[in-house]
């Protein structure tokens, strides 16, 4: 079953059979023949006023094209000429799979999982400060397991005499 658009186009182009034409024209309004003429005029207008310009410098066209082909690789891709030939998409898929396996192997550690209870006790860093001297910093840690707080001084050559550390 053709749509109205298909029938209309076939009617304008005059390819409906006599029977089809009569049946289709019965569904159209009185102005249909005029409409068809206008569409035929439109086609004529397009044909008469749309000549493509000639290709300028045709020899240069060939020259530029063959230069481009030579630059891009030369011969077209050959298929099935070598017993080692593997279609590119299969090769690409296999390469991606191999890369994924390697990445998984090297980046994700595989082995016995440590018992969480054997992991180092939680150490909280609760203080970190630097002085005007960029090489000197002070950091305080608290180890829950040992129940001890450590003040880590870094970058000092010596402790000031006034410091009273115990």
């Amino acid at each position: 079953m053709k749509t109205f658009e298909e029938n209309f186009t076939a009617w304008v182009d005059g390819i409906l059979s006599e029977e089809e034409r009569l049946a289709f024209e019965a569904t159209l309004d009185k102005d249909a023949p005029g409409e068809r003429n206008r569409l035929l005029q439109l086609g004529e207008l397009l044909r008469n006023h749309s000549p493509a310009p000639a290709l300028s410098n045709p020899d240069f066209f060939n020259h530029q094209l063959l230069e481009r082909i030579a630059a891009e690789n030369g011969a077209p891709a050959r298929r099935g000429q070598s017993p080692w030939f593997v279609p590119r998409f299969i090769f690409a898929g296999a390469s991606c799979f191999a890369a994924a396996v390697l990445l998984f192997h090297f980046l994700i550690p595989v082995g016995p999982v440590e018992n969480p209870s054997s992991a180092p006790a939680y150490v909280a860093q609760f203080y970190n400060a630097r002085t005007d001297d960029p090489d000197v910093s002070a950091t305080a840690f608290h180890s829950k397991k040992d129940n001890v707080t450590v003040l880590w001084l870094d970058g000092l050559d010596y402790l000031p005499e006034t410091a009273d550390l115990k």
Binding site: L42, P58, N62, Q64, L65, I69
Partner: protein
């Protein structure tokens, strides 16, 4: 037109294609020489700009060269080439999105309009007549540029290139029904845009 390559030419084409498939670029150059004018004209009718048509024809031939080993001779070489050129052009039109949003482009419309050109052959119409024709072409160009890539390609292939429905369907990879439907809407739109023109010319 795809169906209009005669048998002798088609046989020569097959031989040239075989050489191309063996990597012979000179043979491909010969095929380009045979079909460059047709390809350029077909593309020009769709893009309405010489430089773009030149570039797209180049792209189309490069694509044809790269995939020539897939040509199996089930259709004529030109039919196969025409399909490639059509796809390249439609892809470009879609990317540029000039189909539905394009405004009148003076640079495009004025291309080739030089009524006083000293290089014009003497048997051409007088300048006033040429100017009138140029104006008509401007109107047609502007109207065609308002069509979507799909409608434009069908209209150009049918009305200007004179292809049959089946040839258009083959080139576009769609059904004949789709071709006829697109042609209906393309004609209706052009009718609205050019009504005053074709009734008076």
């Amino acid at each position: 037109m795809p169906g209009e390559v005669d048998t002798a030419v088609a046989e020569e084409d097959v031989q040239l294609v075989a050489k191309c498939q063996a990597g012979d670029t000179a043979a491909f150059g010969e095929l380009v020489t045979r079909y460059r004018t047709k390809a350029f004209g077909m593309i020009y009718n769709m893009v309405r700009n010489e430089q773009d048509a030149w570039d797209l024809a180049q792209d189309g031939f490069v694509k044809a060269w790269k995939s020539i080993d897939r040509f199996r001779g089930q259709s004529s070489f030109y039919t196969w080439l025409y399909r490639i050129m059509t796809n390249v052009t439609i892809d470009w039109l879609r990317k540029k999105q000039i189909a539905s949003v394009a405004e009148f482009d003076e640079n495009i419309a004025l291309a080739g309009i030089e009524p006083g050109s000293a290089t014009a052959p003497k048997d051409e119409p007088p300048p006033s007549r040429r100017l009138e024709q140029a104006e008509i072409r401007q109107r047609i160009d502007a109207a065609i540029m308002k069509l979507s890539a799909e409608h434009r390609s069908v209209l150009v292939m049918k009305e200007i290139d004179g292809l049959q429905y089946q040839e258009i369907a083959d080139a576009l990879g769609c059904s004949i029904g789709t071709v006829m439907s697109r042609l209906f809407y393309a004609r209706k739109k052009m009718q609205g845009l050019l009504k005053d023109l074709y009734e008076n010319v």
